[in-house]
Symmetry: C3
Subunit: 156 residues, 3 copies
């Protein structure tokens, strides 16, 4: 697999990831992960301090689907809308499994019309490439802000 093909696969994966969240097809979101895929959220400060524990942690399709189910029941996505803009992937290694770092910005639009930047940060991913395309074996979301309690409600 060439560098170009790898980047295309990862960009396609991120496009799918963003679309599933932003158009509210939440059930598509776990499908961006492998069967035992891991989703974690932490802050840049925590990470610099060497804290291993994540603020959010979900492993495997079961837990990922549970999160989505909880969001559905809480009607989170009816109150405001989110828009992910995901940047260029930076590949640290290119093999069957690649380490990728990708910046993101999430913009939120309230019912009142107010628009603000909700979150920024970087995805630290382990991505598996198969015939079906790329999938996340591990996505660690590192938020730039340390005040991320309100960021934890929705998948970033």
């Amino acid at each position: 697999m060439t560098q170009t093909e790898l980047m295309t696969q990862v960009m396609a994966l991120n496009a799918r990831y963003a679309a599933s969240l932003d158009r509210g097809d939440l059930e598509d979101w776990p499908r961006c992960f492998t069967e035992d895929g891991m989703y974690r959220v932490t802050s840049a400060d925590n990470r610099r301090a060497g804290h291993q524990a994540s603020l959010i942690y979900a492993r495997g399709q079961g837990m990922l689907k549970d999160r989505v189910q909880a969001l559905r029941e809480a009607n989170i996505y009816e109150r405001q809308s989110y828009r992910h803009v995901i940047g260029m992937p930076l590949a640290a290694a290119a093999a069957e499994e690649a380490s990728i770092e990708t910046p993101f910005v999430v913009v939120r639009t309230m019912r009142t019309g107010r628009i603000d930047v909700f979150a920024t940060g970087v995805y630290l991913d382990t991505v598996t490439i198969s015939e079906d395309g790329a999938a996340l074996r591990d996505r660690m979301v590192v938020c730039d802000s340390s005040r991320i309690d309100t960021l934890l409600a929705i998948p970033l």
Copy 2:
């Protein structure tokens, strides 16, 4: 045409689209569309409610150029500047004609120095690929905000 080539073509088209608007080369903007290309704007709420009517509608090079001409006469671009950041395209199908969904964010800078997020949403495109590259046969701009009256002045 491979998936990689399709994505490259669409990204190049979107780069041209953004640059034509943001550097004020408005006359280049209609050239991103096919001869009978359609430009439409609606809101996510309208779309969810099943409303077919668009808030803005222009079909064909004549109408597209008329819009640009009107903006020139109103000196819209002299008052503030806009910057599009267009995300990764998500291709629903890949043939001579492809259905593409692409997130966007438009940031506005006022003369006072104030910067804010002006609009976010998604482009729902039908893109034609020819020897000259990709062109828009239909771009439906779906804004995340429902308060889009102020968004209608400039092409999104």
Copy 3:
């Protein structure tokens, strides 16, 4: 080199550029430039007015490293964090040396948790492609805002 390969190379360069600044690996930032590479900052207004002088100007690895050293000593990156989102490159020409125009947005997160759009604009680049990948021979940062005094502290 095909258009697809050129775009991939430029996107990879920009991913590296953004990551070096945003994760604070400032020493990696000069490595995005050629040996005699030039980094300049100006405003869109200055450019339209035909002013040749840049507000910031650094030429060659020595001056670029000096800038980074100064930032380290001033502890700039400890006070807030920045996140670049760099858009799709628009290639004006494709040869050994390519002219590329790429939009960018920089979002800033303060210690207080406040997030705002710090700067937007466009990179006007001359990019050299070699076996080691793409490198900047000249990056002219054109800011949309004319009030860019505060923008000059960190590399954009």
